[in-house]
């Protein structure tokens, strides 16, 4: 796919689209506060980058996202493991977890700001809350997906339950867990931006808000581009880790049954399929 020829086509397409955009916006006299031309967006991007403003806010957003991701994932993994392994845990706790999930957690953002203030804590909490659920569901499904024959093999060797967990259930769950991490990373970014929209001292979300008040639409576009790149990079990192960890899963694709890909209660639970 990545032949010089195709790269050439890609560049030509990009230039054609932005050129058309520029000409249309200028030709029709569309005001800059409705849809800025690409040249203005580029100018805003250069201004924001050179002045170091974007870097400062970017750091705040990425920091919140990563901390929230880690916090959410640790909780999700711990609770998911509990639900998967303990009937009692499952019975008493799972209904609440599902109830909590059905609520749009974005609606909690104002409360979170009241509780945790305008600093990084609110972002972390918001990101963790949003990122939590898909990984938890995938952990549960994954840990329960261990192949019956393999469990029997372990049992026939007189393995203890903890040996079965570490040597079989956890590795079997990894494809699901990694897929959950991929989704969680993107959701953590969304959670952070939402918290920043509601109130924050720094962050790209807060920057978009303030640009909006100043009718700086070109600036907003440039920040959106930064956000898209950040999201893409974060996703790439998880994908790379996943390929490393799951070297055996990609080779086993053909033999892993479709039953493994069954979603639970309509929630996210897919393994395989990289972005």
């Amino acid at each position: 796919m990545n032949s010089p020829r195709n790269i050439g086509y890609g560049v030509v397409l990009f230039i054609a689209v932005t050129g058309l955009w520029e000409v249309t916006v200028r030709g029709l006299g569309i005001p800059i506060y409705i849809l800025p031309p690409p040249s203005q967006i580029a100018t805003a991007m250069v201004r924001g980058t050179m002045s170091g403003v974007y870097a400062k806010h970017l750091l705040s957003t990425v920091g919140g996202t990563l901390l929230g991701f880690v916090l959410g994932c640790v909780l999700a993994f711990a609770l998911g493991t509990g639900v998967a392994l303990s009937r009692r845990f499952d019975y008493f706790l799972y209904p609440y977890i599902v109830m909590f999930q059905s609520m749009p957690k974005v609606a909690l953002a104002p409360l979170i700001i009241v509780w945790f203030g305008l600093g990084v804590t609110s972002k972390v909490v918001s990101a963790a809350l949003v990122a939590f659920f898909p990984l938890m569901v995938n952990t549960i499904v994954g840990l329960r997906s261990a192949d019956e024959d393999r469990v029997n093999l372990m049992r026939s060797l007189a393995a203890t339950e903890s040996q079965i967990f570490w040597k079989l259930r956890l590795p079997s769950a990894l494809p699901f867990i990694m897929a959950g991490l991929e989704v969680a990373m993107i959701l953590a970014l969304i959670g952070t931006i939402v918290a920043e929209f509601v109130g924050a001292e720094a962050g790209l979300g807060m920057l978009i808000q303030s640009m909006n008040f100043n009718m700086d639409v070109a600036g907003q576009f440039s920040v959106l581009i930064v956000l898209a790149v950040v999201g893409l990079l974060l996703n790439r990192i998880v994908t790379l880790v996943r390929r490393r960890v799951l070297f055996w899963d990609f080779s086993e694709k053909s033999t892993a049954g479709p039953a493994l890909e069954k979603p639970v209660a309509g929630l996210v639970a897919t393994k395989g399929e990289a972005a």
């Binding site: 024959d149 026939s156 060797l157 007189a158 040597k167 080779s251």
Partner: protein, 260 residues
């Protein structure tokens, strides 16, 4: 075999499964013995309870009544002196061939160094020398099943249980694996209980074949096979071999069951 020590003793073993419409009798009054170092096949059609029997011997299922003992102690759960080979290789794709083979050693906390040596020797015996650090999915189905056999033998168990281990392989590979298994067995002289639904395979490999018939699962007949070893594949075309097969097949025909 000259050695008359008893390895397995199964007496009046009965297994009943509870279902919504009452109990289903899977095994009724099963009784047989296997001598140390003997190769015993159990042959029967699908659903005759032979896999249930194997699961009981592996300690994965409980009996309803009756006893099964190995070297004088009752089998009441999984135990460390039994190796099991299933129909599928049941390997762990995230482990290399050697790590798969060493799984029993790890799980049972056996000394690693000594068993590493025997693992490598066994891998060499089955023709997998130099592949120990590869991954199982890089190898063919027959190779994977060899890895599974080595894994079943690595902790030097008193008994090797094999549940239709070659059922999923194509006919040519299967014949090769039969030769291979005979070679391994002659080298190691393990007590083997081999379950299959192929009558020729059962006769080819065994010192003694027990014939199981279904509903409920019973041992209908036992057939001593005294053909000299090593048996070449050609032995299957000899009259003596044909007679064994014929007598076993007659058990199923008399019951209106034709299989294999």
């Amino acid at each position: 075999m000259g050695d008359a020590r008893v390895a397995i003793e199964v007496g009046q073993l009965t297994k009943q499964y509870a279902t919504s419409r009452g109990g289903v009798l899977a095994l009724e009054n099963i009784g047989f013995t296997v001598q140390e170092g003997e190769f015993v096949s159990i042959v029967g059609p699908s659903g005759c309870g032979k896999s249930t029997l194997l699961k009981i011997l592996a300690g994965l299922l409980e009996t309803t009544s009756g006893t099964a003992t190995l070297r004088g102690t009752a089998i009441r759960g999984p135990r460390k002196d039994i190796g099991v080979v299933f129909q599928a290789p049941v390997l762990f794709p995230w482990r290399t061939v050697l790590d798969n083979v060493m799984l029993p050693v790890e799980v049972q906390g056996l000394p690693r160094e000594a068993h590493l040596k025997s693992a490598l020797a066994l891998l060499e015996l089955v023709g997998l020398k130099d592949f120990e650090s590869r991954y199982p999915w890089e190898r063919s189905g027959g190779m994977q099943q060899r890895v599974a056999i080595v894994r079943g033998l690595v902790h030097d168990p008193a008994l090797l249980l094999m549940d239709e281990p070659f059922g999923a392989l194509d006919a040519m590979t299967r014949e090769n694996m039969n030769l291979e298994l005979q070679r391994i067995w002659m080298e190691r002289r393990k007590t083997v209980l081999f379950i299959t639904h192929s009558i020729p395979e059962a006769v080819f490999l065994a010192d003694c074949v027990y014939v199981m018939t279904p509903r409920p699962g019973r041992i209908q007949h036992s057939e001593r096979v005294a053909l000299p070893r090593p048996r070449p594949l050609d032995v299957m075309t000899t009259p003596a071999f044909g007679e064994h097969v014929h007598r076993i097949r007659a058990c199923f025909n008399s019951k209106g069951e034709v299989d294999a």
